[in-house]
Subunit: 244 residues, 2 copies
DNA sequence: CGTTAGTTTGATGGTCCTCAAGCACTGTGG
DNA sequence: CCACAGTGCTTGAGGACCATCAAACTAACG
């Protein structure tokens, strides 16, 4: 199997676990049922009980909760290589909604397929659990950001995290990444108003730290940005927690 | 086995799954290695790699992250019946610290014991995964609270959630519960200053909604409090997702 | 009886929200 | 071709919410 054929998920897991040929094959086989979804229409609704999970292979998705007063909190963005609704499959708890931000490509994974793959390849199960645990750690870090960082550091930290996540699946580098989010998305993720997001982005740009413009995030001074955000990627790396 | 002997964890799981005698026995056997910890001294430090998890049987614990500037964000409180460090055992990711709020009693669970119990009793594994997923849903709801609710609703919601959780393990009722937290704990959990926590509590008390005094939370008007917080316990109940 | 931890209240100010409005760009239909 | 609406970005003014600083008070404890 050449690297060009590899799915983003494979790429992500391979960065942390030395997977055998057989395991790679089973992993790729999970990607068989390809599905497309158009931007803006919810894939899964809050309260709905989903019977399938998805592996995102192209595009971005947001998972969010809507409150009675109409305000929205985006819990996380999914990028290529991420699982989507994994929790809701193992147990049936779709407590939030999923909305594609752009047109996306995803592989549908039935519960039975997943369990079968786990039974066949236990190390694969561990690897996927590792990925799930990493997602959870990101939500926790997100909580810390909203609770205890001011708008500037919160934005800086979030952009750095997105950059690291994308780099891991080959969609970005230290100098920046393509980003289809609007300022409204960022506002709903960071617990800010869209207007303040705009001001914060201007500040960061004028300070020569990071530029977000025309669907592209550019890190103008990575080092100083890390300093401002007090960004410690330990919760993302977890270098080699698993196997070999 | 009489109900008086049941651990809080057993009680919690039993509320959602009809466990057999054999399963109950295995579950109780996990509680063998009893440990005590004194209030205020961290059980696990951020960054430390833990090799054991704990089932809390008495007392309260806070899990939190400290930032470089000294501010603290409490991610969650653990109450009797809750797992502690489950994630860090399956994968080794102790990305936050655990501090007992009062002197506590806990059962140490070795990875091997846990895996063995899972192998023996698969339904037990499902039940425990359900509990873990519920914890995750609570963190998400917490995120929504900090991101999109003002201080009053945030406090009201949090107290209601704690009340529901405690009721599930028999430690509280609709009219209130014993609560060893200080206003500083609440501040660090809710992303507020301790001073503002005090003012918010006063407001809630003077509005006749809820009273927090002398280590006891009393719901003075449960219905109106639920309305103010827009508290929807769906994410806690998940009535019978499992089995039978 | 001094110390410490926790609670309470007041005064002041900053961060961020809300309201309001203008601009740029895109696609649509007359 | 141009009017028009829709979406997203940008900027200004005023104000609310909550943080910070300061200090008094209570209770527990050695």
């Amino acid at each position: 199997m050449t690297s060009a054929e590899q799915s983003p998920l494979t790429r992500k897991l391979a960065a942390f676990v030395a997977l055998t040929e057989a395991e790679l094959a089973v992993l790729e086989r999970l990607h068989q049922r390809r599905r497309s979804f158009v931007a803006g229409r919810d894939m899964v609704h809050q309260g709905q009980s989903a019977q399938a999970a998805y592996i995102l292979s192209a595009g971005w998705v947001s998972s969010y909760k809507i409150q009675a007063d109409g305000t929205r909190q985006i819990v996380d963005f999914q990028i290529p290589g991420d699982f989507l609704g994994l929790r809701s499959v193992l147990l049936r708890t779709s407590d939030h909604s999923f909305e594609p931000i752009v047109d996306i490509e995803a592989a549908e994974v039935l519960t039975s397929d997943l369990l079968e793959a786990f039974a066949q390849m236990p190390r694969l199960a561990t690897a996927i659990l590792w990925a799930a645990s990493r997602d959870e750690a990101m939500v926790v870090e997100h909580l810390v950001g909203i609770g205890r960082r001011d708008a500037l550091a919160r934005m800086a930290h979030y952009l750095l995290e997105l950059g690291s996540r994308l780099a891991l699946v080959g969609l970005g580098r230290k100098d920046g990444f393509d980003c289809p989010l609007t300022q409204y998305h960022l506002a709903d993720a960071l617990g800010l108003s869209a207007i303040h997001v705009n001001r914060v982005l201007r500040q960061l740009r004028e300070a020569g730290l990071v530029t977000f413009r025309d669907g592209r995030v550019t890190f103008d001074d990575y080092g100083r940005l890390v300093g401002l955000a007090e960004f410690d990627p330990a919760y993302l790396d977890q270098s080699g927690p698993l196997l070999k």
